[in-house]
Symmetry: D3
Subunit: 246 residues, 6 copies
């Protein structure tokens, strides 16, 4: 049985991090599908930052349940130990804050000030299946943030932050603390932690091969023989790798 | 600040239970709205049982996240301590098992055999914002079950049961362990536990008054003076109560 | 140009009423399509009454906008001239109260007491693209009610009744005061008033012919020659009509 | 590679048919999941017939694309060779007509007269991810029909029947001509044809075992040892089978 | 009781206008929530203009119901007094045209030529919960327009403009003529008119404080003590205000 | 009866192509509505390319049904004659590949390498009611692509490419092989082939007139007399055309 908690707190190796930074979510998704995982994509989330497109980090999870009018009142934010504030101050370097907002978009998961604090703490990104507020601030922030859009409404109107670092669902994908989150223009995916190293390594291989194939296709080659590459094309590929030192 | 955990394990008083059994969810919802709570209704769930329409019980919560193909395989059900099985054997007399299935209807939250065991344990009902399987079995079961419909697919295909007795969202309503779940033909509502006794008492009053008003309207009276009752109608009501010993 | 207001207040002729009571919504929809109208069906609404399945009546419209917390408070119902109460006391014999609830199902459009009053006033039915409360009461009511389901929540939580007898949309179908609403097990349709008499007449013809065709098909006849009827079948039909005095 | 066309026209063996008639869709779905198939359920369809609940038959597929106003006019039904009419006259004994209606519910896939003809031809059922018209007729029909509900609007308003006996999607499940459709109160599933015989056989086994387990649970047994059965329970089961001759 | 019609025609004071131009919708939404209003945000609408991001103006409402094929024909646009044209010529300086399109996106609420006329009349913006056509024209228009996207289809295909300056719902938010509409990158909100002046004043205060807090957080300060500010931070804030003359 | 197959393979005349390249989808949609066609717009698709906004071409159709786990495995892509690959190598110069993906967005219809090959073959564009992968590649591609967004997941996870050049539905619009697809910032529309020439000619006329009207409105003219133009304005228009040689 796969353990889902073993690497909850440990950072990614530099090698794996670097490989994933060079791999598209499309490539990673194919590598996961080879391993029987067809549901790694957090559908419906898009990037708000204009400054940084690529995100790789370790999942730090936060769970929200629906708000209740007598509990979730504005005064709770006076408490520095409110779970939402505590979570923000717990996200560490290299982590991605992943928020289960139940796909509820009518109130924001968080705003620009908290996101700035998260960036200052060295986090690698933010992911929510809800919304963010102060979108113009997020656009300029040097921290990739993926969300289901913008809502100016403060999170208390719809959300009650309840606990952190438990397994959650985000956009109908399971996210266990310690899993690896990767984001780019196609969106966000979640790599189960125990597969991260081998997937990263195989992705690098696939990326180089596809760069070569794309070159070929751009030069007018038909799919037959080229995509997927037959033996003759693979031979050319080996030479191309040597030549380009890839 | 309202405590949301104080009565997690304690049963309802007989008085409150009886009052709620005689009160419609419509009446209870109005009483909650008077107290500022507008979001008590678990929209979209319907009753599967043909045998018993009314449900009153204390929430016992179960949380599911999305399944992952390498973890959620059929063999896990060989384990009697699998969280789903453990939860079934933990629901006690007077409790309602409330399942957070994220509104995911493509696989069932549970089937007829587990539901039968829950009934045998003396539970008061089952609520899920997902689906159930073996619907024909549920129709004959003497245990009110409210769900978003039927799906023959076993829960592992979409769900991973992860923990129990934590606060959850169900159909976008917050449910804290110990809250009071009430169901009838209009659906299911959740009463925050600290309000249950006073709400139950006021509901009984409202139910009797509305029975009287309905009689009047059925006899041809216009709304003016009758609904809401003016002073003269209220006087008649007092006599009616005496006469009918209500 | 077609007038949409000419017959706002006038009742249906007995002939038209009787013909529509004998015609299915399926037949009427085909007759409307012959006249270029493809959008007469109020999709998504179902019948709550167990007592009466067929509804024919003249539209009396009521419009709701979203509620606002500082205006739509429970105390407004103390006012007998509140627009919702006024509308109930304005619906006359033979009318169908048609409510534009914007498809918002999270709070009921009305409850059993008001519906009872509407029945007492001689109305022919109720249609809302929202929900109703006290569903068990509606099931026993001798007044066909079509809605998008049940919600125990009182209408003030989501709705503000704003005006009546203006043209509205209901389930994305235009309804002008005076139009003819027809309901059965397939749902509800709206016939523009100026077409009601001719459509009713042609429907009766079609219903008799289809009864004859169904008999033939039930006796094993293939579609060819029978549905639609060719000349020989039409001849048999004429004899059948004579024989059965249809 | 699995062939998806081999048994397109051949009927089910009596043994397989009988076994599937005794198996619930819940049981079959579990057997398919054991074989790696998690997407066999046509979500969102319900049974309209009150007369017959269980359906087993071989898929005969029909495909609809959206209608176009200048092609899909009422006069096309004058043509007995119109694809919809031709399909109805092609469905044979033991077949289930499966209609790809793209989930479009605003116009019916077919009505009561055509369904009656299909029944007369000996078909085993009708499945559409769209709607049907004349619902009251379908309720009385001795032919199980599963649909996404009722719509009185004739199919031309939204549908153009284009071809038959090609592979289709229905409710986001692939259906190849010759596949086996099974329906009950939980809904409809599709069994790939090459698996039908072995799945049917294993389902029968599972059904008998679950009948025994249910008896045990109803007599108060806890899940531990019973569900799934441990060795001791399995021994009791063997005796129970002998005693009851199952 | 709050009057919803008192200021229907009166313009905003310069002070209130200026304050709202400097306030984000996020800040305004929080101020409204402090006053018990949780439903001010018109979810799902985005800005089409590339030229101007901020919008503040007084609501001028327009209501559409579904189109009917025999009434809503292209020839109606020959009439300069058609309600849509009349509305365009009635929107005055400082107003925002707010269109209730029932969330129907399949046909545009209006196109670039009418929008240009609205701009020429001095309006402050356009808001619809439907779509616009000629999106490339809107992108270059110096008039903030918020919509649910683009559709090339002319409004008659789905919409019938019926009346103006009545209370409407737009994206499930109540909008009364005279209310104040504010838009930015987070979307559009509606401020009930009687609250506009006090909300504007309090927003200005909050904006300055949050600017200071953001500076602190960007300089590495933790949330504790800073957000919300404790006494010591508030003291620093007072000095900062003096220094920066805010 | 209109033939839907006559021009399946023939290219557009240069005159029609040029006219449509100068016509907006808004204008074309109005011309189609004049001819009774209200459903030409493929709602919900947006342009991914930053390089080229306008698309005109002849529909080459591709149909997908839902994937099945035992058939749609990664190894099928080893086959150069896999239907998806064959379709890519069949799309010719001037064609638009139109993919029926049933609106299923959870797996991509195709990726950047195949799209590059399609561009190399001289195609005019790609349209899918599903998603694409490698969005950053599509943004730089000199081939207009319209889709429902991005998904990194390879198409096999949800799609089985089944056949090509059959009539399909795409975004609930019928598309027959040979129809004319036009795209711009408002989205994509489909012109039935037999209407393409006359619609193109009338669009050109309308575009010039609207350019003139827009100039007038920008110069402050009211709608009355200008939009639509009265006789006096039409006279000015004739002079304007002469002067500007339009």
């Amino acid at each position: 049985m796969v353990s889902t908690t073993a690497n909850k707190e440990s950072p990614l190796s530099k090698e794996t991090y670097d490989a994933l930074m060079q791999s598209s979510t499309a490539t990673i998704t194919t590598q996961l599908m080879k391993r029987g995982l067809r549901n790694a994509f957090l559908e419906g989330l898009s990037l708000s930052s204009r400054r940084q497109e690529k995100m790789v980090g370790v999942a730090f999870t936060l769970r929200c349940i629906p708000a209740r009018e007598d509990i979730d009142v504005l005064s709770v934010f006076q408490d520095y130990d409110h779970p939402q504030r505590k979570a923000v101050e717990s996200v560490g370097p290299g982590s991605v804050l992943v928020i289960d907002a139940r796909g509820q978009t009518r109130a924001a998961s968080l705003g620009h000030i908290l996101a700035t604090r998260i960036k200052e703490r060295g986090a690698a990104g933010i992911v929510t299946d809800g919304t963010v507020r102060d979108m113009s601030g997020f656009e300029e922030l040097e921290l990739p943030t993926f969300s289901a859009g913008a809502s100016p409404t403060t999170n208390l109107a719809k959300h009650h932050v309840v606990d952190m670092q438990l397994p959650i669902g985000c956009a109908e994908v399971p996210v266990y603390p310690g899993d690896v989150m990767v984001g780019d223009r196609d969106g966000v995916i979640c790599i189960p932690r125990h597969l991260a190293d081998e997937v990263a390594r195989d992705c690098l291989e696939q990326e180089v091969l596809e760069e070569f194939i794309l070159e070929r296709v751009e030069s007018g080659k038909p799919l037959r023989g080229t995509y997927p590459p037959d033996e003759s094309t693979l031979k050319d590929y080996e030479e191309w790798r040597k030549k380009h030192k890839r």
